[in-house]
């Protein structure tokens, strides 16, 4: 059979319509598109795609099942490895993972693995079929999972399947972490997240919402008084960074976390039907160019901002966001202000933002990582008129749990030190996800949660 190098595109809604509402942008494959894309898979003997997947999904197997139209089997294949296939199909940076590793990728024709994953998961969910969950017999061991984001959910799911009694403690009023407060509805509909999370409860995992890790329940209390045999810490990267430039505390300067939390978790886009308000300017600068920055920029556009700029100090080639997010943002009218870095937020006497003062950069020599280093151009200062600024330059570890956990070793950035198996400096205490690595991606956190679940299982068996 001849090599088919034509990737099947996934249809998206018209940019001019979608940038005014919060309905999902990508429409997903239909049955024919999925069949055609799946048929392109070479079913490699040594599948490179698998090694590119942080949770090691048996990708050739599920794609093969799609070609045979055995969609349920394909779904259960995905579920063997991942709790959240409908989520991952939508938000994973596939071009750097499975698709990046695909043998057809050098020809620009990697199989649309993410799109197929999404198709299979959506098809099963929409069929209304009850998912069959398999669970090992009760081991009598208790594990506390601190943090109900991607790392904690993945860890809890696998531990529960292995027969352990698991309780998740989540600080917010809903499970999901960044899937609920960070990633917008138009990229990841919340009913889909909720549906995939439901399986956690069906497996018998107990869920304590509004429970701030380290406060009511310290690690010490959980292990000594409440009888938990092990604790998994997955409290994430929950403390937004700022640039520490003058004017950063003016009224209309938001962290991306705050802006997105108000809109996504608190549904400020439905104000006043929902009680939480959010401010949106006419001219909005989003500082940073990761996925979070793209989410913030596209959200501002949807809430009525006229001009939205991504302000980034490197060039387009270095933009860290998923390719699809960058493309979608540009299609929706978000402008790129590249090789530019802010040095001050200018405000009026009442504390309102009026401009972002920036300097221009050019690309210099490559750094250790091979990325060309941005170098400031002398005397290049200029002002961009703005009435709102969103800082999307990353997050550090949340301090609440760390300050009440004695003996937990942290690195100089304040992240928990854990080995490859998630073991921390305290016996029986494990950690994974952003709290260990610093802010990364949903799938890397899930991968860490999953891997650590196995290591906790081994630990409990040998105890």
């Amino acid at each position: 059979m001849a090599l088919n190098l034509n990737r099947v595109d996934m249809p998206n809604r018209d940019p001019d319509a979608r940038n005014k509402d919060f309905i999902e942008v990508a429409e997903g494959y239909n049955v024919d598109m999925a069949a055609e894309e799946a048929s392109r898979c070479l079913n490699c003997k040594k599948p490179l795609c698998r090694s590119g997947c942080p949770v090691n999904i048996d990708i050739p197997r599920f794609i093969n099942q799609v070609t045979k139209k055995d969609y349920d089997a394909a779904y259960y294949t995905l579920k063997e490895f991942s709790l959240l296939p409908a989520v991952c199909g939508r938000v994973c940076p596939q071009e750097h993972q499975c698709e990046g590793a695909c043998i057809l990728n050098p020809k620009g024709a990697a199989i649309g693995i993410g799109r197929l994953e999404r198709y299979v998961a959506d098809k099963f969910r929409e069929s209304g079929k009850e998912e069959v969950l398999q669970k090992a017999p009760d081991t009598g061991k208790k594990v506390a999972v601190l943090g109900g984001g991607p790392a904690g959910l993945a860890c809890a799911y696998d531990l529960a399947k292995l027969g352990h009694s698991v309780t998740i403690y989540e600080a917010l009023h809903t499970l999901g972490g960044v899937l609920m407060y960070g990633i917008p509805e138009f990229r990841l509909p919340k009913n889909i997240v909720n549906k995939e999370i439901e399986n956690i409860e069906k497996l018998g995992v107990k869920i304590e919402l509004n429970s701030v890790a380290g406060r009511v329940n310290t690690v010490e209390k959980l292990m000594k008084e409440d009888g938990f045999d092990a604790v998994f810490i997955g409290t994430g990267a929950g403390l937004p960074y700022f640039l520490n430039i003058p004017g950063e505390n003016l009224n209309e300067v938001y962290s991306a976390n705050e802006f997105l939390t108000r809109v996504n978790l608190m549904k400020a886009y439905k104000f006043p039907e929902y009680d939480t308000p959010v401010f949106v300017g006419e001219k909005v600068a989003v500082v940073g160019a990761g996925n979070v920055a793209m989410d913030a920029a596209r959200t501002a556009k949807r809430l009525g901002a006229k001009d939205v700029y991504i302000v980034y100090r490197r060039s387009k080639d270095e933009v860290p966001a998923r390719l699809e997010e960058l493309e979608h943002a540009e299609e929706e009218g978000v402008k790129l202000q590249l090789l530019t870095s802010p040095i001050e937020v200018i405000g009026d006497e009442n504390g309102h933002v009026t401009a972002l003062r920036c300097v221009s950069y050019e690309l210099g020599e490559p750094d250790e990582g091979g990325r060309r280093k941005p170098v400031e151009i002398p005397n290049s200062e200029f002002d961009m008129p703005m009435d709102m600024v969103v800082m999307a330059i990353g997050q550090g570890p949340n301090p609440l749990l760390l300050e009440t956990t004695k003996g937990l070793e942290l690195n100089k950035r304040g992240n928990i030190v854990a080995d490859d198996d998630g073991k921390t400096s305290i016996e029986g205490v494990f950690a994974g996800g952003d709290i260990v690595t610093g802010a990364a991606t949903v799938i890397l956190a899930m991968g860490a949660g999953k891997k650590t679940a196995q290591s906790i299982h081994d630990y409990l068996n040998n105890k």
């Binding site: 009023h173 406060r215 700022f242 505390n249 009224n251 608190m266 504390g351 949340n398």
Partner: protein, 275 residues
């Protein structure tokens, strides 16, 4: 769900509620706060803890009708429940035996002052309390504070009760009269600002309790930023108590006004909703 076990109207715009939240009641300390959400469409609002009863599992909050959510809250009755009630959040007050402590409070700051004054007294301090209100009708908890104070002074703006004038007037007299080792000021930002300016003249270390706009209350969003000694701090995880002599007051006052325009829309909704 977190049930309101008791509701008491303290004055026409101030209400006290005891909420059943046993885990929080057991672990919270003076100076800390909770975040609550009334219902599915509600916003998350922070409230400093006014008292707690570990045996009964109750956390006491006191609120004043200032905006939409506080009106909605005022309309809730004994037996109703909050959807979410999260805490204890923030750092606890640093209670020790300082010697003589001046506790200055006004408006809604009176409620969170109470457990702090109580702990200060327990630690062996001489507690001198100055309470301010706009008028007699708006004054709350004079008797409650009296119990935990060695001396108490009341001021009203209009002179309808106690001394006519501001809390800073009486505080100045006290600072002139005797050696004060430490001070606490809790109330409207403007009151805390002028109290801190006053105590600075007398070199009395002064703690203030900030209550800025918040969303999650756990350090995740940074809405509650303020500047202390020129550095950005988050009231939710670094505070809510700070060195009053180092707070950038004008910035904090400006940041309270971010949603002024939206608040009017919300108030219209409140009127339509009949509260």
């Amino acid at each position: 769900m977190y049930k309101i076990m008791k509701k008491e109207i303290l004055n026409p715009s101030v209400v006290l509620m005891d909420v059943y939240a046993p885990d929080i009641a057991k672990t919270c300390k003076a100076g800390q706060f909770i975040v609550l959400r009334i219902d599915e469409v509600g916003e998350r609002i922070p409230l400093t803890i006014a008292d707690f009863f570990p045996e009964e599992g109750l956390v006491r909050i006191v609120t004043q009708t200032v905006g939409y959510t506080s009106r909605k809250l005022m309309n809730m009755e004994q037996g109703d429940s909050f959807l979410d009630f999260i805490g204890p959040l923030g750092q606890e007050s640093e209670i020790e035996n300082y010697g003589t402590v001046l506790c200055v409070c006004g408006g809604l700051g009176i409620a969170p002052m109470y457990p702090i004054a109580r702990e200060l007294k327990k630690a062996g301090n001489k507690v001198i309390t100055v309470v301010g209100a706009r008028n007699k009708e708006l004054l709350i908890w004079e008797d409650v504070l009296k119990e935990v104070s060695n001396e108490i002074y009341v001021t009203t703006d209009d002179g309808s009760y106690g001394r006519k004038g501001l809390v800073t007037d009486v505080s100045k007299e006290i600072l002139e009269r005797e050696k004060i080792d430490h001070a606490w000021a809790i109330g409207p930002v403007i009151m805390m600002k002028f109290t801190a300016l006053l105590t600075k003249e007398y070199n009395v270390p002064t703690i203030v309790s900030m209550n800025p706009i918040m969303v999650d209350g756990t350090g995740m969003c940074g809405a509650c930023r303020l500047e202390v000694d020129g550095k950005t701090k988050f009231a939710c995880v670094d505070g809510p108590e700070f060195d009053g002599h180092k707070v950038n007051w004008d910035l904090s006052m400006r940041r309270m006004n971010i949603y002024k325009a939206k608040e009017e829309i919300a108030l219209e909704k409140a009127i339509k909703g009949g509260f």
